[in-house]
């Protein structure tokens, strides 16, 4: 697999993972987050909404990057 395709797949995987993480932040209170996720607080019912938004934005950015990067060569590029 060439480096370009690897980068696209990496961006897709990271993007989806971050969007899933965002949903977890929005749905689960801080006490229910896995201890390795930033924001975990034992006994806290607080929902880390802002962490979720940050994760979602990053995830969306990764997917947009993959969308552009995976496009084939343009007609004018082929012509030149």
């Amino acid at each position: 697999m060439d480096r370009g395709r690897l980068l696209v797949w990496l961006a897709v995987i990271v993007g989806i993972a971050l969007i899933v993480l965002a949903v977890v932040y929005w749905v689960e209170p801080a006490k229910s987050l896995p201890s390795w996720i930033p924001g975990h607080e034992a006994g806290s019912n607080h929902h880390h909404v802002k962490h979720g938004i940050a994760a979602f934005l990053l995830g969306a950015a990764c997917l947009v990057f993959a969308w552009f990067r995976s496009a084939g060569p343009r007609p004018r590029q082929l012509a030149s």
């Binding site: 802002k50 962490h51 938004i53 940050a54 934005l57 990053l58 950015a61 947009v64 969308w67 552009f68 995976s70 496009a71 343009r74």
Partner: protein
């Protein structure tokens, strides 16, 4: 008073947050920036400022959003598509600012909440503006043509991300968001006029999103008894924000950041000395 001050200082590169911390202390008002009613005020005035900016640059935003949609459909940012390039530059600049803002806002505001700290950072803001004028890559010269094309040509992706991330420093009271962004624009080679335009375009989604995130506080129980004064503050803020953006766009056609740098340095120094005594 706070609404007028907020609308005026939000867009001038002199730190609205810094002024809203320093002024109450100078005038002996019993206001603290982490008080719930003060935050409600800020939400209302920020929302008003964002709406004014959106209205002022409405036609530009319509073009930019169409450009973003076009580039997503075609899966490329065509070199001649200035609107798409500018749109993605704004996205690239907004994401780091948004993420850093979301994650650091509370910590930074609680650490640097005092008027003394705001006065000190106002001085730093003045030095940043002076340094930006000194470090600019080329001598300012009048330019013709489409300003968006000039911005799209001169600003690269890394530079947009860096300028956007620098906006997060404006969470520290005393450091100006528009000042830091304009300074960044100058350093990457924009003219004062284009740097101001880029800064205002970059400010709109950030200010709007920050206000929108806190709207529940305005309409929730925290806003009880404050909504009336907050509405008056928002209207005052909208008026001064509109006058400010009109003035600044004309001012930067021929002028530099230097007067604002001098003001921040002098006011910051004077307030630092005053608070120390």
């Amino acid at each position: 008073m706070l609404g007028l001050l907020q609308g005026f200082s939000e867009l001038f590169p002199i730190s609205s947050l810094g002024h809203s911390v320093i002024l109450p202390r100078l005038l002996g008002w019993d206001i603290h920036q982490n008080d719930s009613y003060f935050i409600t005020f800020l939400v209302a005035t920020h929302l008003a400022t964002a709406l004014v900016l959106l209205g002022f640059f409405w036609r530009d935003w319509v073009r930019i959003v169409r450009g973003l949609g076009r580039s997503l459909r075609e899966r490329e940012i065509a070199p001649e598509d200035t609107d798409a390039k500018l749109g993605w530059l704004l996205v690239v600049g907004t994401i780091p600012a948004g993420i850093l803002g979301l994650l650091l806002e509370h910590k930074l505001r609680s650490v640097f909440a005092s008027a003394q700290s705001a006065a000190f950072f106002l001085m730093i803001n003045g030095l940043i503006l002076f340094a930006a004028e000194a470090l600019r890559r080329r001598a300012p010269q009048p330019e013709h043509g489409d300003p968006d094309a000039r911005i799209a040509r001169r600003v690269g992706w890394r530079e947009a991300a860096a300028v956007g991330a620098a906006q997060a420093t404006a969470l520290v009271p005393g450091i100006s968001r528009s000042g830091v962004t304009m300074a960044g624009g100058l350093v990457v080679g924009l003219s004062n006029e284009d740097a101001a335009r880029f800064a205002f375009l970059l400010a709109t989604p950030i200010i709007g999103a920050a206000a929108a995130l806190k709207l529940p506080e305005l309409f929730g129980s925290q806003g009880n008894g404050v909504r009336g004064p907050a509405l008056v503050a928002a209207v005052c803020s909208a008026v001064t924000a509109y006058l400010s953006v009109r003035f600044l766009m004309r001012f930067f056609e021929t002028n530099r950041l230097t007067p604002f740098a001098a003001y921040c340095l002098a006011a910051g120094l004077a307030c630092t000395l005053y608070f120390a005594t």
